[in-house]
């Protein structure tokens, strides 16, 4: 045997880990993961930082100049000096407008650029992950996760980041100015801030605990609601609507109490920050006046200092509010990062030895199981020859669609090999494989746009044709009668929900799309289930017109839809067995097999 037994274990792509197993990530860890994204933004960040320092420097320079003007001119009654100082201050203000503009602009650009790159890489990742990822995560969950989390990041990068950045620099700047102007008063003015930091540190565990309890109870409330609403049929069928209401009241009450606890804990900080700011002002005045009376300080500088206290404590208070948006943004970033960290396990392997073979498709000892699930296919062997029509029949859940998915390499077998034209299917480039195999999926999916967009989707050959030319190609393939089923032919609009089109029409579009690509092997997975019998006949005629060497694989759960098959396979309980022709199959079903 030249074929190596492939030992593939499928990745676990489930994003929602069972409760309690999520790894805890620290804020700093999250920030670190974000750093690589900032790499090509270095220049902008430098410009923004320089501008930010300049802005806060300029804005902080004004109060001290006002102080000097008070001391040197107003108190001495020299109005001319006041005017000179006013002119200087005015110039400073103008300069601050410019630097502040650049600060916001550049920091904002950093945010927008990072967001742009981030969105692109998330989308790119979505494109590179295999179908298994989408099957393991509910589409609704996935969409809301990506949309919500990128939105949270958007808010963060567009708003909070700029504010946070500016606040930090202003706080630092104000502290430096106070220390430079008068280090003694500066130091005492900063003391309440240090006390605040300590106080916040001490209170944090308590606040965190209260919030964790409240979060837990909100979770409990959600769980209770889910338990009852998800099982609403039991509540209704057993006539126990009162149960739901009472149970809800109970958890709602518990939630109410802990929410109040959390609310009170969260609200201790803001008044305290106000208190600290007030104390700082009081210290500055009391100490300032004491120093003035001994000649070590001036009234003008006292007025400047009061400004500085405001400029230091106000942003501090704002930071407390920005902080929560910070934390939600980083939680979102962690979740996005979890997607970015996933890797596709459907990689291309190097060329394997070509087994000269007339078979277009061959399964050799193929077994398959979905992650964490039972084996769906057990060591399956079969071959498809060029130009023939095959039917896969059997009850739902027997493994028909799984077999088809392996033919199109939506998954790799857990063991065994799938050969396409005698070559391991894993050694094909994605593009080449896609050209060879057409797969009309059970659930037709349409992109919003027009019928033309959808027919030509993934088809570069006809992309640049005019509508007239395309119509000709369509009638060459015998598809013109199908196109006539659409009111505006090629220009018929397809909306996002596709509600204007019937399921049958969607299946027709999928059919036209597949035929126009002229693949060597076409799989129709229950593809005509919602098409009326007249149209179904039409489709059969079209299929007959396909090039002689095209192989057809038809999947159906009912026997009468596969009369024209050259060969029928039963796919059942994970096994694929040959059943011969239609008549033979029915005979065998009704009599043969049971007799044995």
């Amino acid at each position: 045997m030249i074929l190596k037994k492939a030992q593939a274990t499928m990745n676990n792509y489930a994003l929602n880990k069972p409760v309690g197993t999520e790894e805890k990530t620290s804020l700093w860890g999250s920030i670190k993961k974000l750093l690589p994204l900032l790499n090509d933004q270095k220049e902008r960040i430098i410009v923004a930082t320089v501008a930010a320092f300049a802005t806060s420097g300029l804005n902080l320079l004004a109060p001290i100049l006002i102080g000097h003007a008070v001391d040197d001119y107003i108190q001495k009654g020299q109005y001319h000096g006041v005017l000179v100082y006013s002119a200087i201050i005015f110039t400073i203000y103008i300069a601050a407008v410019v630097t502040s503009y650049f600060q916001t602009l550049f920091m904002g650009r950093v945010g927008q650029n990072v967001l742009f790159t981030l969105r692109n890489s998330v989308f790119n990742k979505l494109g590179s992950l295999p179908v298994a990822f989408f099957n393991q995560n509910k589409a609704g969950d996935l969409i809301s996760r990506i949309n919500n989390d990128t939105d949270k990041l958007n808010q963060f990068f567009s708003q909070s980041l700029v504010q946070f950045f500016a606040n930090i620099i202003t706080i630092i700047g104000a502290a430096i100015f106070m220390l430079v102007v008068n280090w003694k008063i500066g130091l005492v003015a900063i003391i309440p801030a240090i006390f605040l930091l300590v106080f916040t540190q001490i209170l944090s565990p308590w606040i965190k605990r209260k919030n964790a309890l409240s979060l837990k109870n909100i979770g409990g409330l959600s769980a209770e609601v889910s338990e009852s609403i998800d099982n609403f049929k039991v509540v209704v069928a057993f006539d126990r609507r009162d149960y739901f209401k009472e149970k809800f009241k109970e958890v709602n009450e518990i939630n109410y109490k802990s929410a109040i606890g959390a609310g009170i804990a969260n609200n201790t900080l803001t008044p305290t920050y106000g208190l600290a700011s007030g104390i700082a002002q009081l210290i500055v005045i009391a100490y300032g006046i004491t120093l003035i009376s001994t000649g070590h300080f001036t009234l003008g500088l006292l007025i400047s200092f009061l400004s500085y206290v405001g400029r230091m404590y106000d942003p501090l208070r704002q930071m407390a509010t920005v902080w929560s948006s910070f934390q939600t943004a980083f939680a979102s970033w962690d979740r996005i990062h979890a997607i970015l960290m996933l890797d596709s396990d459907l990689t291309k392997i190097s060329e394997t030895k070509v087994v000269s073979s007339a078979h277009v498709m061959e399964f050799k000892d193929v077994s398959f199981s979905y992650p964490g699930g039972k084996e769906v296919l057990h060591s399956v062997n079969f071959t498809f020859d060029r130009g023939k029509t095959y039917a896969l029949v059997g009850p739902t859940g027997g493994g028909k669609t799984t077999t088809a998915s392996l033919i199109a390499r939506l998954y790799d077998p857990t063991s065994g090999v799938v050969l396409l034209d005698g070559k391991d299917i894993r050694s094909y480039e994605d593009g080449e494989r896609a050209r060879k195999i057409g797969f009309i999926l059970q659930e037709p999916f349409l992109f919003s746009g027009t019928v033309r967009d959808n027919i030509l989707y993934g088809n570069e050959e006809y992309l640049n044709l005019t509508n007239v030319e395309l119509e000709k190609v369509i009638s060459d393939h015998g598809l013109e009668k199908l196109l006539a089923r659409f009111d505006d032919r090629l220009d018929t609009a397809v909306t996002a929900t596709g509600s204007a089109l019937s399921l049958g029409q969607k299946q027709l579009i999928a059919f036209i799309r597949a035929v126009l690509r002229r693949p060597e092997l076409i799989i129709l997975d229950e593809a005509t289930a919602n098409i009326d019998t007249v149209t179904e006949q039409l489709l059969e005629d079209i299929l007959k017109k396909l090039p002689k060497e095209t192989t057809l694989v038809i999947i159906a759960h009912r026997l009468n839809t596969i009369e024209n098959a050259d060969e029928i396979f039963f796919v059942n309980a994970g096994e694929v067995t040959q059943a011969g022709s239609m008549q033979h199959a029915v005979d065998m079903l009704l009599h043969g097999k049971r007799a044995s």
Binding site: N59, V82, Y93, V97, S100, T104, L105, G108, F116, R119, F123, L126, G127, F134, A139, L142, S158, V162, V225, E227, D230, F232, K233, F238, R240, K245, F248, N252, E253, Y256, I260, G263, N267, P271, Q281, I285, I289, S293, L299, L306, S307, D314, P395, T396, L410, D430, A434, L441, F445, S448, G458, N459, S499, S502, L503, H557, F570, A573, V586, L590
Partner: protein, 579 residues
């Protein structure tokens, strides 16, 4: 029930103010605390200016400053702290009451309503929509009131100190207000554009998630990425446009505020030199201007929070105003158990779940419905319990349309064992007697029939042990048997089993079925199943595929008439052989 739905209709389109009416007193309390704390806060600059003036005149007493300033700071601290407590209590109270009324409303709705609105959406109503209303009460109301008090108060004080200077300086308020108005009207257009682009982005993401299989079959990740980059670039462009406005707005507002300071320096300096104003008042002017800027901005920002809360409230009202269950019939009679389906269709948007289904079931017989998954088997049972209603066609029980029955009376006589086991966070006794009052004898019989006796003796508190779905160690079979006991505790006339045999082993299954026949001899049994072996002896087997009845008859009849039935039968022979 009809009266409640009409009164509810009347309230439609009510604004969020209506919601707050019952909480007038706490909200008034909140408002007065906000007024008091920001009012007292306005005194601070005054104290500073007095101290400076007193110092200049040599009458400064340190103690007065410490007492006055300390009292004000402490007062503000206590008032804001009280305010935060009141606002926490009020907002949580409103949230709790609103949640309860939503839950009451949901509790009165039909199963179809819940499925249509989706449990996820209802959960959103009960959580994040409530949160934004909480936000309104918890933050917006108080900060709006404080802002207004500060703006009006500071303005008044400035005028009393020096009206000429006040007039000159307060020129900034209309300028900032005008700027804000201008920018926000421009911003609204951009925000709308931004929302549209985000919708576009999300659409591309949605389609690429929903169409993921197709994209991989056609290997069209490249074009998809191009589509996305186009939308993403647009999003970035709009983001940058908004940014440019913001980048200009912030410095300009700062500049205008700074200009006010400059005016104080020039004009105020002039007054101080001329002797018509004290140095302390000069300092006070500076402080009050500093106090004024932020509240003006807050008013603009909070408008957003209000409209968000209103939007959430509108969504909640949709649930609260929804019409309630169509109501029930009045027929209350003891059921015999004859069931009849006549041309019943159930259609979801495009797809038929059941198509032209007709059959009859004689009372006191055993009927099996078999077929592949998604064939519509469970829907038949749901129709029988009125969990869903047919799109067309008639369902009769004892020759009377099912809609004529009082639903409560119907539910008390039809036992339904659902496919998925639903265990509530209650004691075992409460779980089994979930359908209301079950006599001790009924309970005993149900437990015996379900073969739960042995299991119950192993439990620490026996029947009074609290079992729960979350974190329980019950096996699938045990849960399934509890579900059966729950249905049997009703002492039902009709028993519906939805894939009951899937998780119970063969031996137990046979035992339970013979118990059932012995203890409930007159019951009409309808069993949905995948396993033919378990139902070979039934009076009737109905084969369902893709919502259509393909064949019906006894096991023997079907073996000779239906190739599909034979196919399933054979496949199960090979599976059981395989196992």
């Amino acid at each position: 029930m009809a009266t409640t739905s009409t009164t509810i209709q009347k309230k439609k389109g009510s604004s969020i103010v209506g919601l707050l009416k019952p909480y007038l007193w706490p909200i008034l309390g909140l408002a007065s605390l906000a007024v008091a704390s920001s009012g007292i806060g306005l005194i601070t600059p005054k104290i500073i200016s007095h101290s400076i003036d007193a110092f200049v005149h040599g009458t400064f007493v340190m103690q007065t400053l410490l007492v006055e300033f300390g009292a004000v700071t402490l007062g503000v601290f206590i008032l804001t702290y009280l305010q935060s407590i009141v606002q926490t209590y009020t907002s949580e109270r409103v949230a709790k009451d609103l949640r309860n009324s939503i839950a009451d409303k949901i509790g009165n709705q039909s199963y179809e309503f819940v499925e249509k609105v989706t449990p996820a959406r209802l959960l959103t109503n009960l959580t994040s929509d409530i949160d934004s209303i909480k936000m309104l009460i918890g933050q917006a109301i108080a900060s709006l009131i404080s802002s207004v008090v500060i703006v009006i108060g500071a303005t008044t004080i400035l005028f009393t100190i020096n009206w000429q200077l006040a007039l000159a300086v307060l020129g900034i308020i209309p300028i900032i207000g005008g700027l804000f108005f201008f920018v926000f009207s421009k911003m609204r257009v951009l925000m709308k554009k931004s929302r549209e682009v985000i919708d576009w982005l999300n659409k591309v993401i949605n389609e690429s998630v929903l169409g993921s299989a197709l994209i991989r079959v056609l290997n069209s990740q490249g074009p998809e990425f191009d589509k996305f980059v186009k939308a993403n670039t647009q999003a970035k462009d709009v983001g940058l446009q908004i940014l440019r406005i913001f980048a200009a707005l912030i410095p300009v507002i700062t500049f205008v505020a700074n200009l006010a300071m400059l005016v104080i320096l020039m004009l105020g300096g002039h007054f101080v030199i001329g002797g018509s104003m004290s140095l302390g008042d000069f300092a006070a002017f500076n402080s009050y201007i500093g106090l004024l800027i932020f509240p003006i901005l807050v008013v603009g920002i909070m408008g957003n929070a209000i409209s968000q809360a209103q939007a959430s409230y509108d969504r909640i009202r949709e649930v609260l105003d929804a019409k309630e269950d169509a109501g029930t019939g009045t027929l209350k009679k003891e059921l015999e158990g004859r069931i009849e389906f006549k041309k019943v269709n159930v259609k979801y948007v495009e797809k038929y779940a059941l198509k032209d289904v007709s059959f009859e079931i004689e009372p006191h017989t055993k009927t099996a419905i078999i077929g592949p998954t998604a064939a519509g088997k469970s829907q038949i049972l749901h129709l029988l319990t009125r969990l869903i209603s047919p799109t067309s066609g008639v369902i009769k029980i004892d020759k009377k349309p099912i809609t004529e029955y009082d639903t409560s009376a119907l539910h008390k006589q039809i036992g339904f064992v659902f496919q998925d086991s639903v265990i509530f966070n209650l004691t075992l006794r409460e779980n089994i007697a979930f359908g209301g009052v079950a006599s001790e004898a009924d309970l005993e019989k149900a437990i015996k029939t379900s073969e739960l006796g042995d299991f119950i003796t192993t439990l620490p508190q026996g029947l009074d042990t609290v079992i729960s779905e979350r974190g329980s160690s019950l096996s699938g079979g045990q849960k399934q048997r509890i579900m059966l006991a729950r249905a049997l505790a009703l002492d039902p006339k009709i028993l519906l089993l939805d894939d009951f045999t899937a998780r119970v082993d063969n031996k137990t299954e046979q035992k339970i079925l013979s118990n059932l026949m012995a203890n409930y001899p007159a019951i009409t049994l309808v069993s949905v199943t995948q396993k033919i072996a378990a139902v070979e002896g039934y009076d009737k087997i109905i084969l369902l595929m893709e919502g259509e009845v393909i064949a019906s008859g006894t096991h023997k009849e079907l073996l000779t008439t239906s190739p599909e039935y034979v196919q399933i039968y054979d496949s199960q022979k090979s599976t059981s052989h395989y196992e």
